[in-house]
Each structure stands twice: as structure tokens, then as C-alpha cells.
């Protein structure tokens, strides 16, 4: 036991006396989680909470325009701007101010569109009642024009288009119903206006995150970034661990250890246990960041769920996988440069495809498939399961099994490679 303790202590001392290595292990991921969470949160808040301004040139000045204004106010998503410098916006204003990027979008409501809707509705009703021919080719068409800044992302443009189309359809339907109601009243004196709403149809529409019993948990930048950068930090031990193994090979320490009975394996176990401890310290540091430090900057508090034991087991398994990867790279590498560059680049790639920087669901299918092979993705899914789905071991075991098998295969491969190289 004392031999193991000495081997473990040696690794810890070597790490403590390596400021660059400590920086990579603790400072870099800490800074990254702060920066990325803040950036993502402000970007998401900007989309989620800030009302987007929309220039409106209302040439109609009738029901459609008025109802659109009420719709904008009710949604809270868009803030219409009708005048600039006390002058009503013209069509050319809308095009000019969106094309130069001053505003992200604008809308031009053509003159007479409300009246046109009413007229067309009357024609439809007349054709139904047989008092007029069927409407069709001679129906007058008007176009409500949406204009976008060319720099607006297509996904954002599409979401605004859908929202606006829904809004305008509802208004058009209302106008049509009003027209029908008016004509019906001509035939049936005393008939009231037809109302179409959820109260009549009995259908409501609602959205929420499916988060199990804990209704407090909502996916946000903190819930994503804290586990994501914890995993990234853990796997980044590949650099100090890999280079320390190469150093031992380079300067003959490995030869010396192999001559001492049982000490090579002991030294490897000392390394594994020391680096697992480092990973767990990284985990504790990142958790404290999410629980204490990020909320101080106005960000949401990290919710870790109630399954603390499962969370610890997930972190421990992730630490084992990361350590095994570092050991494997260190054993295979012939130089410091190989260990550091291949180790870091491979972790960056696994992180990128594994959903550490950008959530997997926004990735194209090919990358998503690649990502499902990344151990960082397995680890992230396990953390998501515990944080967001209140999962216990019965639910996360598939991810833990994959990580454990990954670690065992790499440890065996490292051992085989170390024995093979002297032949």
C-alpha cells in the first residue's frame, strides 16, 4: 500500500510542480465555461427575450394593419415601428433601412388589402349562395411584403415568416368570418357574429420541456456548458498525462521501473489514480462554477438533480475513460510533440462532433452519426440524463457501459503496445 501511495504521491507532486499543466487542467476549462456560457446565454436571451424591431409601412390603414399591431403587442416577440423622425415609413424607407442593416426586417402592407379581403369573401359567399359566378381567375390578389436584412440567418428568417404567416392567416380568417357573418345577418335577422376560438373548438396549444418530476429544470446554456466543459477538461488531461509517459520513456525511467519488481504496473496505477483524482477535482470545480460563480453573473443556477450518487458515478466513469485515453496516447506516442498535438487535436475533434461546443441536435446527420461514436458524447448524454431527466443508474447504464468498455479496451491496448515495442 505504501508503494502505491508513493507512486500516487509522486504523480501529484509532478502535477503540482507543472504550472502549464495545471493551467491546461483547471484554468483553461474554467475560463471556457465562463466565456462560452456568457456568450451563449446572451445570444439566446437576445433571441428569446429581446423584442425584435420590425419596420411597418402600412399603406392599407384598415383592419389588417390594426389587427397586426394588436398581434405584435400580444406576442411580445416583435416591436413594430411605423414612424421614424415623426414621419410615417414609406416602402423605400423599409427597403433602404433593411438593406443597410439598420433594421433586421420590415413589412409593407399594400393599400386596400383589408377591403380586398372583404370583397373576395363576399364574392366567395355569393358564389356559394348562387348569386354570383365562382371566384377564381378574376380574384384580385394583393401581396404583403416581408423584407429582410441580407445578413439575417435563413433559420431566423424562416421562423419570422412562419410566425407572420400564421398571424396574417388568422387575421384574414377573422375578416372572412366577419364578411360571412354580415351576409348571414342579411338572411337571418338577429344572427350574431361567428366566433372561431379555442373556446369554441375546444383545442388548446401549449409547449413545455419534458423534464420529469423536477419542473425547475430547464435546458439552458449553464445546463449544457458546465457538463460539456467538465468533460472537455477531463479529456484534456491527455496532454499532461501523455507527455509525462513519453518523458518517462525518453529519459529511461520506464526502463528503470521495469527492472524493479512490480513497480511498472504500480506506477501506471499510481498515474491512473492520480489523474482520476485530478478529473474529480475538475468536476468539483466546474460544479461549483455552475452552482456559485455563474449565478453571480446573473446566469441561471446549475440544477444537478437529486441523484447525486449517480452523478458521482457518471463523473468517475468519465474520469476513468479520459485517463485511459491519456495513457493510451502517451504509450503510443514517440515524442512529446506527438502526444501533445495528436492528443489535443483528437480531443478537439471528439468534442466538436460529440456535441460539446454545439448541441448534437443541430448537427447534420453525418456529423451526428460520427458524434455518437465519441466518448465525449456518451459522457455528455450521461450528464444530460442526470441533470435534465433526473435519471438514475437504471437509465444511464448504457452510456456508462460504453465509457467503461472504452476505458478497458484502451488500457489493454496500451499495455499490449508497451510490451510490444521492445520486440
Amino acid at each position: 500500500m505504501r508503494r502505491f501511495y508513493e507512486a500516487w504521491k509522486k504523480e501529484i507532486l509532478l502535477l503540482l510542480r507543472d504550472p502549464a499543466g495545471l493551467g491546461i487542467l483547471f484554468v483553461l476549462p474554467g475560463v471556457m465555461v465562463f466565456l462560452i456560457t456568457l456568450i451563449q446565454d446572451s445570444a439566446l436571451s437576445a433571441q428569446r427575450e429581446t423584442r425584435q424591431q420590425i419596420l411597418v409601412c402600412d399603406l392599407d390603414r384598415d383592419t389588417l394593419g390594426q389587427q397586426l399591431r394588436r398581434g405584435f403587442d400580444a406576442s411580445g416577440f416583435l416591436e413594430p415601428i411605423y414612424t421614424l423622425n415623426n414621419a410615417e415609413l414609406s416602402e423605400s424607407d423599409v427597403y433602404r433601412l433593411t438593406s443597410d442593416g439598420s433594421y433586421k426586417m420590415g413589412m409593407i402592407i399594400p393599400k386596400g388589402v383589408s377591403e380586398q379581403i372583404r370583397t373576395n369573401a363576399g364574392n366567395v359567399l355569393a358564389s356559394v349562395l348562387g348569386t354570383a359566378k365562382k371566384p377564381g381567375a378574376d380574384t384580385v390578389r394583393k401581396t404583403i411584403q416581408l423584407v429582410f436584412d441580407p445578413a439575417v440567418p435563413s433559420s431566423y428568417k424562416a421562423s419570422v415568416e412562419i410566425a407572420m404567416e400564421r398571424n396574417i392567416n388568422a387575421i384574414q380568417t377573422g375578416l372572412l368570418v366577419d364578411a360571412f357573418s354580415a351576409r348571414i345577418a342579411e338572411f337571418i335577422p338577429g344572427a350574431g357574429r361567428v366566433q372561431i376560438s379555442a373556446d369554441v373548438t375546444g383545442v388548446d396549444f401549449s409547449t413545455e420541456y419534458s423534464t420529469g418530476e423536477n419542473s425547475l429544470i430547464k435546458p439552458n446554456s449553464v445546463q449544457h456548458n458546465v457538463p460539456a466543459w467538465t468533460i472537455f477538461a477531463m479529456f484534456f488531461i491527455v496532454i499532461p498525462l501523455g507527455t509525462s509517459i513519453v518523458r518517462e520513456k525518453d529519459n529511461g525511467i520506464e526502463r528503470r521501473l521495469r527492472v524493479i519488481p512490480g513497480s511498472f504496473d504500480l506506477s501506471v496505477f499510481g498515474k491512473i489514480s492520480a489523474y482520476i483524482l485530478i478529473c474529480m477535482l475538475q468536476f468539483a470545480l466546474m460544479l461549483s462554477t455552475g452552482l456559485v460563480w455563474l449565478p453571480m453573473l446573473g446566469l441561471p443556477v446549475l440544477v444537478i438533480g437529486h441523484n447525486v450518487l449517480t452523478l458521482l458515478i457518471v463523473a468517475l466513469t468519465c474520469a476513468l475513460a479520459a485517463t485511459a485515453y491519456g495513457l493510451f496516447i502517451g504509450t503510443l506516442a514517440r515524442t512529446h510533440e506527438q502526444a501533445a498535438s495528436f492528443g489535443s487535436i483528437s480531443v478537439l475533434i471528439m468534442a466538436a462532433v460529440g456535441g460539446i461546443w454545439v448541441p448534437s441536435f443541430v448537427m447534420p446527420p453525418v456529423v451526428k452519426t460520427l458524434g455518437s461514436l465519441s466518448p465525449l458524447n456518451w459522457a455528455l448524454n450521461a450528464f444530460y440524463d442526470v441533470f435534465l431527466r433526473e435519471a438514475d443508474l437504471a437509465l444511464v447504464w448504457p452510456q456508462l457501459l460504453k465509457l467503461t468498455l472504452f476505458a478497458l479496451v484502451l488500457l489493454l491496448a496500451a499495455r499490449f503496445a508497451a510490451a510490444f515495442k521492445y520486440r
Binding site: R3, L14, N251, G252, R255, R256, V259, P261, R423
Partner: protein
């Protein structure tokens, strides 16, 4: 009665993967207990490969090797603990102090804690390092590192000590301390197996030397005897006579 050799090598050949020429080519060698045996040879002659095989670090397919009565493939904890290795490289952690390095390697040999501390301080004193023992190794001179490198190989008191060029590239004073210590260590009845390019040092220290070239021992005997046989005044001139003056850059 002649004691059983501590090192016995018969028809040993070794070729590394991907190399056509064998590095060892039917080598035979006996080293008796208590000998100070020097293996001398030009670069690429097979010295380090032979030492690696004797220490059990590199496997071989052809020939037989017995060290302390065991084949290296069958080394157990006891046989390994009878062996000490001082590699040519400074096989130490440069961010640890001399004392921390020695405690780590000593504890790996299962030396009891108290005894390890006593031995560490004893050797640090002998090698003039006690004042610097708490400093990180990276602040040491080359000679100081060589001395710590040697101590790490002898802390457990091995019967058979393998030394791979233990005095290469160091100052005269450090070399003198090391050479005097090794002579004393051998006088205490321990066997030393040593490689060097320093002929005068080998002439002084070794009770027997073997000249190795192209993977075979081409001359073996006491230095004085070999010099007489080959009519040479120094071991260095005899070495050049046997191995030639052509450069052996690897």
C-alpha cells in the same frame, strides 16, 4: 570448486523487427560472482541490447541466458530485487528533489520506510549531495544528476549492478567520486556489469573486460592480460587494434 556464473549467456542472437542485421550474433559470456566486468565496444556493437536482455527488458528468441540463476523471461520478484540498473540516461524525475526521487524508487523496492530514509541520507552524504537534496533535480549540474542516478540504482543493495556508461559527460570530481564508490562497492563482494567508452576508467575498474563488435565478443579477459596478448600498452590502443579506426556513427 568454481562458483556458478552469475551471468551465463550461450549463443545469444537478437534481431529487432524490421532490421536485417542481428544486433547480437551468437554471443557467449560468463560473469562470475564478485567480478567487475566491463563490456566495451564501438557504437552499435550491441552493448545496450545485451544489457537490456540481461535485465529482462528485451525478449530474445535464440540462445540461452541465465542471470542470478534465472532466465530473464522467468524473473520473479526475488531475482529482480537482486539486480540494480543504472541507465545511461538520467532516469529520474527532474521536478522532484533528489530525496523525493530516491524515496520513490526506494519504496518501489519495498525497502522499509525508516531504513529507506537512513539509506537515502547515507548515500546523499557519501555522494556529497545532502545540502542540495531538497532542490528539484532540474537545478542540478550534470555530475550531481549522475550521482543521484547511481544512488537510485543501488539503494536496495543489489548483488548484481548493471551500469550503462555511468560517468558519461561529467566533471572530473564527480567521475572520481563515482569511480571510487564503484570500486568499493565491488570490493564488498558485489558483481558489477559495466559498459563504457572510457577506456582508462575501464582499465582501472574492471577485473575483466569483454570487447564486443558486430554482436559477438571478440576478446575477453583481464585488462592487463589482454593488453599483453595483443602487445598493446593501453586498453584504448588494444580496442582500436581489435575494432578498427573506422567511424561507427549510428
Amino acid at each position: 570448486m568454481i562458483p556458478e556464473p552469475l551471468i551465463q549467456v550461450r549463443d545469444l542472437s537478437k534481431a529487432y523487427r524490421g532490421k536485417i542485421e542481428p544486433v547480437l550474433n551468437g554471443l557467449n559470456l560468463d560473469v562470475q560472482p564478485g567480478e567487475f566486468y566491463g563490456i566495451l565496444g564501438p557504437n552499435g556493437a550491441g552493448k545496450t541490447s545485451l544489457m537490456n536482455i540481461l535485465c529482462g527488458l528485451v525478449p530474445y528468441k535464440q540462445g540461452t541466458v541465465r542471470v542470478t540463476g534465472f532466465s530473464p523471461a522467468d524473473f520473479n520478484a526475488l531475482s529482480k530485487s537482486r539486480i540494480g540498473l543504472v541507465p545511461q540516461d538520467i532516469a529520474l524525475y527532474d521536478k522532484l528533489s533528489a530525496r523525493e526521487n530516491l524515496h520513490f524508487f526506494g519504496s518501489a523496492y519495498r525497502i522499509p520506510h525508516k531504513e529507506l530514509r537512513e539509506r537515502t541520507e547515507h548515500y546523499l552524504r557519501i555522494f556529497g549531495l545532502e545540502k542540495h537534496a531538497s532542490r528539484p533535480l532540474k537545478t542540478y549540474s550534470g555530475g550531481m544528476k549522475r550521482r543521484v542516478n547511481l544512488i537510485a540504482g543501488i539503494l536496495h543493495g543489489p548483488d548484481l549492478l548493471f551500469l550503462d556508461e555511468p560517468t558519461v559527460g561529467i566533471d572530473v570530481q564527480s567521475r572520481n567520486v563515482i569511480v571510487e564508490f564503484l570500486a568499493e562497492y565491488n570490493r564488498a563482494g558485489r558483481t558489477v556489469f559495466y559498459t563504457s567508452h572510457h577506456m582508462r576508467e575501464a582499465e582501472t575498474l574492471c577485473s575483466r573486460v569483454g570487447i564486443i563488435d558486430s554482436g559477438v565478443i571478440i576478446a575477453d579477459g583481464a585488462p592487463a592480460e589482454l593488453m599483453r596478448q595483443h602487445a598493446c600498452e593501453t586498453l584504448e590502443s588494444m580496442f582500436l587494434k581489435l575494432t578498427g579506426k573506422d567511424l561507427r556513427d549510428e
